[in-house]
């Protein structure tokens, strides 16, 4: 009887040890989607005039941001954080894409976008489309963007300042509000890159 009790105890201990060895589920940062789905399609032009289709990027992790180059604060701060994330990844940075979707197509010509982004990372994609083309994309991602003035040249845009993470299978996983630590974004990117291997 004594031996039986000891064996039960040992089996229980073994089960506890085995369960603790199992990998804990990844804790996503930002605002993860509870029921992740395929990311809404994006068909826009890059700064070279080539068509950019989000669905063509499967196999790579995609970070997306909706901003404008005349924005002097939140947008360049976000782009600088993306550059930091890319820098930390070293060679793995070739497996991710950062797409900056302009919500200001009147002023952000492809040339303006190109000059703005190349200062940070030559591989960042500036994505451009007409206001009409952008409407559907913004709605699909829940992105708000409105000018604060009727003046055609001097206006600011109040806009959603979130970074969206699409994994290598094209699934929209999570999004990050402004102020999220870049280390947290990096942790998620590293996770999806590892998951892909």
């Amino acid at each position: 009887m004594k031996n039986t009790q000891r064996n039960y105890f040992l089996i229980l201990l073994l089960l506890i040890l085995l369960s603790s060895c199992g990998a804990a589920p990844h804790q996503w940062h930002g605002s993860p989607y509870s029921n992740p789905k395929e990311a809404p399609e994006i068909i826009l032009f890059d700064t070279q005039g080539e068509t950019f289709r989000l669905s063509d990027q499967k196999g790579k992790v995609v970070l997306l941001f909706f901003g404008y180059t005349y924005c002097p604060d939140v947008c360049p701060a976000t782009v600088a954080e993306m550059r930091w994330v890319f820098d930390q990844l070293g060679e793995d940075a070739e497996r991710i894409i950062f797409g900056f979707v302009s919500v200001d197509p009147e002023r952000d010509t492809p040339e303006v976008l190109e000059n703005y982004l190349k200062r940070h990372n030559a591989n960042f994609y500036g994505l451009w489309g007409t206001s009409e083309e952008l409407e559907g994309i913004k709605a699909a991602y829940g992105v708000y963007a409105e000018k604060d003035s009727e003046d055609p040249e001097n206006y600011l845009i109040t806009h959603t300042a979130r970074v969206f993470l699409v994994d290598a299978e094209g699934i929209l996983r999570t999004n990050y509000s402004f102020g999220t630590f870049p280390e947290d974004i990096l942790a998620d990117v590293e996770y999806v890159l590892e998951d892909q291997e």
């Binding site: 604060d73 000059n115 402004f178």
Partner: protein
Amino acid sequence: MRWKFKNAPIFISLVVFLCACASSPVAMEIVDAWARPAESGANSAAYFEIDSSPEGDTLLSASSQIAERTEIHRTTIDSEGKARMEQQSRVEIPGGEITRFAPGGYHVMFIHLHAALLVGDIFSLTLNFERAGEVTIDVEVQTP
């Protein structure tokens, strides 16, 4: 000896007066000023920290030679993650505290730059305070 005692109060008053004149009031300090690089014709922003004087102050305006307009702005992020920038007509600088002009908050905005701001460039920025008057600082263009 009698002369010395008689004049002692005058002497002490003089010393106290001179000491008061020699010790200047604690002035505000503006440190760690930097600005983002940007193309000619684009916009940029400057950030810094104000270590205020004990009595505090109010920032009323900013001016520079590098852009068509130089304005004080504040970014706020609402609960839905929308970023909104609004021009500020005055910014209270509480006494004895450090007020930070930082990304995602208060900043000085340069609208329509006359020339590109390149990393390493240094330019002058004048901040106009209610009490301290005009304070001109050097701002270095840096990659954040």
